[in-house]
């Protein structure tokens, strides 16, 4: 069948182009401001193409200790969180994928119930506090180590692998850990890749638990710092005392927008890899047993 464009196709393409433009424009603007001297963007005489180019904002941020520390904290939290989440989620999902395991139903019920009922913010806070985790990276990482949704999706992937595979390995005398490590995991690359990226994004974007669990701002990852940097310009009403006075004093729109850009940069870098897996992964979650 030959594609013949009708007025209908034209209208659809035009509307989608407009929507896509609405998504892209803010990025172009943020980039443009970050490369412009502060006076230019104040005057607002450009929109997506800087009149004068400067790297001031970036050289300033890359020399600011507070900013670099927060990037370092974010990298640590992201690495810790991703490894821990993968470990906890995969081991539990694998065990629960075995239909012969006694007690499997009750464990699934225990996990599933957390999807519809939870203690809430303050009880969570008290648990983290009583475990002595306040001001440590673990306070951000541990409470977010997994979720019922993750377990369900990974488990349904494991269940789709042929059972005869394990049985053959068992006949050959392989232990259960050996089967998981040398047979199941190599076959699970797609789901592991999906969730590695999923967890990386989650922990890099982590904001609120850092705000409530990390009083020591030298432990802050990038998101809460970014919030302070941009809130200062939004209104003095909501801005709290800046973490770093010198950082606050130099906050032009170029520095703020450069910080926004750097905070999203890792996401934009992993996004092309994400894109390939995520649509599938999201649909996996809706598949019923």
């Amino acid at each position: 069948m030959k594609l013949k464009a009708t007025w209908f196709d034209t209208i659809i393409v035009v509307i989608i182009c407009l929507i896509s433009l609405l998504v892209i424009l803010p990025f172009l603007y943020i980039i443009a401001v970050s490369f412009s001297p502060p006076g230019d963007s104040m005057a607002g005489n450009f929109f997506i193409w800087p009149k004068h180019w400067t790297l001031d904002a970036y050289s300033y941020l890359l020399n600011a200790n507070t900013f670099l520390t927060s990037v370092k904290n974010s990298v640590i939290i992201t690495a810790m969180g991703t490894v821990l989440s993968l470990f906890v989620s995969i081991t539990l999902a694998y065990a629960l994928s075995k239909k012969f395991l006694p007690g499997r139903r009750i464990m699934l019920l225990v996990i599933f119930f957390t999807m519809i009922f939870h203690g809430g913010m303050i009880p969570n806070y008290l648990v983290v506090k009583n475990l002595g985790l306040i001001d440590s990276y673990w306070a951000v990482v541990l409470p977010a180590a997994s979720s019922a949704f993750n377990i369900m999706v990974i488990r349904s992937f494991f269940q789709s692998l042929p059972e005869s595979l394990d049985e053959a390995a068992r006949i050959d005398g392989a232990g259960e850990f050996r089967i998981l490590y040398s047979i199941v995991l190599p076959l699970s690359k797609p789901i592991i890749a999906t969730f590695t990226l999923f967890f990386m994004v989650q922990f890099w974007n982590e904001f609120f638990s850092a705000v409530i669990y990390l009083n020591d701002t030298s432990r802050w990852p990038i998101q809460p710092l970014l919030r302070q940097m941009v809130a200062i310009s939004a209104s003095n009403i909501s801005a709290e005392a800046a973490v770093d006075a010198s950082l606050a004093a130099n906050l032009g729109p170029n520095v703020q927008n450069a910080a926004i850009l750097l905070a999203m940069l890792p996401i934009v870098i992993v996004y092309p890899f994400l894109q390939k897996y995520f649509a599938k992964g999201a649909m996996l979650g809706s598949i019923k047993e």
């Binding site: 196709d9 393409v13 998504v23 803010p26 906890v88 203690g119 049985e167 904001f207 999203m264």
Partner: protein, 302 residues
């Protein structure tokens, strides 16, 4: 023969329990132990006496909470944001899915999908930062308002702009991502139906109305009910960032109130009472939504 290959006895099964242990321990520690903290809603918590020895006060905290005008304000603000999302964000997502589904040029479809999915992966802080760059006092919008209309608007520190901005942010961030599940449902519609409609002389709009929309009705109903079931949850991260003392009349939702009362004023018992009310109300809504889905002949959420 088959059966013998599957572990049945404990000495064969313990590796699986060992594998499950860290995960189960995680769920017990960070999901179930907090639930025990809910008893503080019935106590007057004193940090010196601890959770166990603080005195019982029965339903006093609940009485206090329902007796204040705060309760109605929080309920109204929370439900209004959910309702607005339901009548603006939700149909927009369906509209965008239908548009993408009608694109016949594969390359164009893939490129535009890649673009509209992207904001979903950005943090709310980044979205907030972008919002300030555009809607802040010295943002682009105000710049052009000043240049063209001699005016400016306090988008970020006013009651009337809070809800429109929050809904707009939700659409910008997540509408594209929300199309995935509809597109999956759309892909499941039998193409022969469209062929038949074409033979009968149906226009594209007519096919959308008579084939496409009925084809995803089930998905729409389920997602609609899911959203209704979560009406008590506002997107806390988004609201937390967008709120300030000048828009608190419309931005104060249950979660935000819990944060202020509990973690800023250290009134744990009262904050837990509010949080517990929200959790229980959510539970009832979710179960109700699931029941309604089954009544409508859909599969239900669980």
């Amino acid at each position: 023969m088959q059966r013998a290959l599957r572990p049945k006895r404990f000495h064969q099964l313990w590796p699986f329990y060992l594998l499950a242990a860290p995960g189960i321990l995680y769920f017990l520690t960070f999901h179930y132990i907090p639930m025990t903290g809910l008893i503080l809603a019935f106590k007057e918590y004193s940090p010196f006496k601890g959770m166990m020895d603080s005195p019982w006060v029965g339903l006093d905290n609940f009485r206090q909470f329902f007796g204040t005008s705060d309760f109605y304000m929080l309920l109204k603000n929370t439900l209004l944001i959910s309702l607005l999302n339901l009548i603006i964000y939700f149909p927009f997502t369906i509209f965008l899915s239908l548009l993408l589904n009608e694109v016949r040029l594969k390359v164009f479809k893939r490129v535009s999908q890649t673009i509209v999915y992207l904001p979903h992966f950005l943090s709310w802080v980044v979205i907030y930062g972008i919002t300030i760059s555009f809607f802040g006092p010295s943002g682009v919008i105000n710049h052009y308002l000043g240049q063209w209309f001699d005016g400016s608007a306090n988008f970020l520190v006013s009651n009337e702009w809070f809800r429109p901005l929050v809904i707009f942010q939700s659409i910008w961030k997540d509408a594209g991502w929300g199309t995935i599940i509809f597109l999956a449902a759309l892909a499941g519609i039998n193409p022969e139906q469209y062929e038949a409609a074409k033979v009968d002389g149906a226009s594209r709009l007519q096919s959308i109305w008579h084939i496409t929309l009925p084809g995803i009705k089930g998905t729409i109903v389920i997602l609609l009910l899911l959203r209704l079931g979560s009406s008590m949850d506002s997107n806390f991260m988004q609201i937390f960032l967008m709120t300030n003392s000048l828009n608190l009349d419309v931005s104060n939702v249950f979660d935000l109130f819990v944060y202020h009362v509990g973690l800023e004023q250290f009134n744990y018992s009262f904050a837990i009472t509010v949080g517990m009310f929200k959790s229980v109300a959510s539970l009832i809504l979710v179960l109700g939504a699931n029941y309604a889905a089954k009544l409508l002949g859909e599969e239900g959420i669980f």
